[in-house]
Amino acid sequence: MSDERTVGDERIVSTATNPDIDAAGFTADTKVDSILISADPHPATKPEGFSVVGKALPKTDAWSKVTGAALYADDIVLPRMLHGKLLRSTQAHARIKSVDASRAFELPGVVAVMTGADLRVKYGILPSSPDEEVLACDKVRYVGDPVAAVVADDELTAEEALELIAVEYEPLPAVMSIDAALRTDLPKLHDNPRRTNNVHKEVHLEFGDMDAGFAAAVKVFEDEFFFEGNTHAPMEQHSVVASAGADGKLTIWASTQTPHYLHRIAAQVLQMPASRIRVIAPPVGGGFGGKTEPFAHELVAAFLARKTGRPVKITLTREEVFFAHRGRHPVKMKIRTGVKSDGTITACHLQTWLDGGAYGSYGVATTYYTGALATVTYKIPAYKFDGCRVFTNKPPCGPKRGHGTTQPRFAFECHIDKIADALGLDAAEYRKRISVDANTTTVNGLRVTSCGLRECLDAAEKRSRYAEKRKMLTKGKGIGIAASAYLCGAGLAIYWNEMPHSGAIVKVDRGGGVTIYCGTSDCGQGSESMLAAIVAETLGVDVMDVSVCASDTDLTPVDLGSYSSRVTFMAGNAARQAADGVREKIAQVASEKLDVPIARIGFARRRVFDVADPAKSLSFLEAAQAAEARFGTLAAPGSYAPPRHNPDFKGSGVGPSPAYSYSVCVAEVDVDLETGEVLVERITLAHDVGRAINPDSVEGQIEGGVYMGIGEALMEESAFRGIEHKIPNLLDYKTPTSLDMPPIETIIIETNDSEGPYGAKEAGQGPLNPVIPAIANAVAHAIKGRVYATPITSDKVLRALDADGGAVLRVRRAPAHA
């Protein structure tokens, strides 16, 4: 019986016993707890064999965070420190005729001013689109575009000085939508002689035989969807402190997920050797992709710290965080899918139009990502993708959790439900039937290794009692399912090079303490705890024996950064390799001292021992000291570069990953048929993470993904009124509060990826993706009509009730103008 396979190895992760969990599944409306299911194809490496991996331990930084001791960028205070402020454009699109900051400079307390002319260097996170200036030189492109900067003795003076800067604008027509950007009669945001409109990037890819695929189809389905833009809104406002030493060396402390990229770009923009710049990322107060590229305020602070010879701090206001943005692209999508009568997909054509905002950011990659991963979830034998990103006069869009894959996942999973309904198939069973298989290659050349998608579907379906509830729910209640896949890091770095994507050094000191040096940036996802756990497991020490020295370009080997869910897989592998290097040395010495073959040397509980006779042992400290005496300083490096499997076509660099995580969400909703309000009553989410290094952290990532998914599904939107951001504050930009969260049941599926560190894959970005379409599908189930655009707000629900067959459910019709 296939069900036995997944439930046979099930265990409850939480140490608290939960009487609500029984073998038959969950009792509805009870407090839920996490389940871990093993679908491990390599049973030789059972988690029971591990001391640290698989244990729900507190995070290593938990104590500093609950006591307020953790120092974030804005908590750093240096002697003689100045405070900086940016003057931002009041125009969406305008030529700058003049900027006069002389009056600001005269204000007592002002130490320096800066305008675009001070640093005329174009840069961009992607080498293919260097279209940003530190401060706008000739043109502003959105309300909020930085134009000038002031540093003063205190923040208030700097703020006051901004008022004294005179900027003369020559306004241009603003381009505020995808449709407007495609027109040829509006001014272009960026000079590009090859374009007559505001298209930034076009992608056209085709794989397999599309004609044959559609010819073989019994039915062809076509749908159009729109995913509204939204933003990360990390709780910490971006902050930077820059200080130039007397020797001219520049140190930048920044709330960044990517210290290495800031290091590179700062060197390029400031035109100084990278060896004279040190970038440190203190604990980052939330990122979600919003702090993955260099920002104007960081480069301004660095420039002015050098110019004034004094440390400079710039912390963005919350409104400025909305302007800095780099959030979710609004995307319009068209899907056309051919299927056989049993639902087997024969061909699929996906078209996407992305509203990129004013600058390139990661947008070229985002454009590819809206198409690249469509094939990693369900089998698609022929696939065509056309993507188009446009420039508009809005804050630039970039990567947000799920980078470019979230929007098409919403569209595709809604589309799949519609196909299932039309063919009379159960939506969950249908998904299982068309799921990709482990160890296969997709039509666009992506290598799928471990794959727990079917296990996720099974577990989520069973735990939520999906099939049963799908048939018997009452009016206004709905249940929906959706699936997704996500990267474990991008297969290629954003700039071409053949060096590792992650590096680590492990060092053992004479007191038995272990330090790992790694360039990762912990933005709350728990990368430091992950590294500590992997090193502790490898060396058989306690997690608290391991110190993590991270995200300091002077001290740590490069890690490309905390984005694209790459850290556990890549930095984790580098850390394991480094720890293995140290372990080998210790094992060799221990083998001689204990007179035991080296292959029999084990490491656990701070002992180094003979696995055949554990009484024969040395303490870790003794063994480490003996190894240092023998080999000298006890340290070893580790590196990781993903395997090169990308096929040879332009754009093939986006999509490949050393592994893919899988997630399935079942959402249960209650829709108020009078008001259109959607209440999420319960979420069940299964996530194939390969191996949970720390199940509590994985669970936390899943819960956070569910939360963010609920926000994006129901309320979060980057709305504009004319040229202005309508709601650049945390009151009007609605996010779910503690009162809006339903019970979440998390199910961790372990497939023990053969290339991941201790079998681990990513956890965190993936589980956001299925939440939004699962809610959309549940709403469609509840109202017998469909909302084709996010967020699924009351007005859209009421319109769908009127437009679709759900009209019979409707209590009162919406006003005609709605």
């Binding site: 407090k31 729900a56 507190p58 995070k59 930084d61 938990a62 104590w63 500093s64 965070k65 609950v66 006591t67 307020g68 953790a70 120092l71 974030y72 804005d74 908590d75 205070v77 007592p108 307390g109 003795d153 205190d154 208030l156 003076t157 006051e160 990360h232 809104a233 990390p234 709780m235 910490e236 406002q237 604990p283 107060g285 939330g286 979600f288 919350r318 933005c523 709350g524 996802q525 728990g526 509590d696 952290s697 669970e699 936390g700 819960e703 956070g704 993904g705 569910v706 939360y707 963010m708 504050n729 945390l730 009151l731 996010t735 779910p736 509060t737 503690s738 009162l739 969260m741 979440i744």
Partner: protein, 163 residues
């Protein structure tokens, strides 16, 4: 040199100690705590009273320090995250949050802890709904609140059993 009004000298009662400090009278309690007293554990996420990150306890009530002038706090008992652990021993709310993974990026955590401590002092046996209500003014973007609510429930049970 500054354009700010002249500083005043005041004594503030913070975490059981009297702290004498000079600050501009237009400064908020948040700014004075962070900039003039050096207590950076209290965070800011909006400075408009929307996010709850700056929550401190003034005379047993949770207060948004970004909306409170420091001069209003003179003569009142102010408690910040730095004063929650006593003699190196974590408050049950802190310990529960650390153990449950209720702090991810940790930026909202001090504000959450202050709201939770105030809640448990006023209502030692809150229901899950009471806890969710008590924390509804504190935004968190990482956790989905689930582990935070569980941690406060656990801390509440621990505090009651110790009584």
């Amino acid at each position: 040199m500054s354009i700010a009004p002249a500083k005043i000298l005041a004594s503030l009662s913070i975490n059981g100690s009297v702290v004498e400090c000079a600050f501009n009278p237009n400064k908020t309690l948040l700014e004075v705590l962070r900039e003039d007293v050096g207590l950076t554990g209290t965070k800011h996420g909006c400075e408009m009273g929307h996010c709850g990150a700056c929550t401190v306890i003034v005379d047993d009530l949770p207060v948004l320090s970004c909306l409170t002038l420091a001069v209003e706090s003179i003569g009142h008992e102010i408690r910040t995250i730095e004063g929650v652990a006593r003699d190196g021993v974590l408050h049950p709310v802190q310990r529960a949050l650390a153990e449950s993974g209720g702090a991810q990026c940790g930026y909202c955590t001090p504000g959450i802890i202050m709201s939770a401590v105030a809640l448990l002092e006023q209502n030692p046996a809150p229901t899950r709904e009471d806890v969710a209500q008590g924390l509804s003014g504190n935004l968190c973007r990482c956790t989905g609140y689930t582990k935070i609510i569980e941690a406060v429930e656990n801390a509440s049970a621990e505090l009651r059993s110790a009584r």
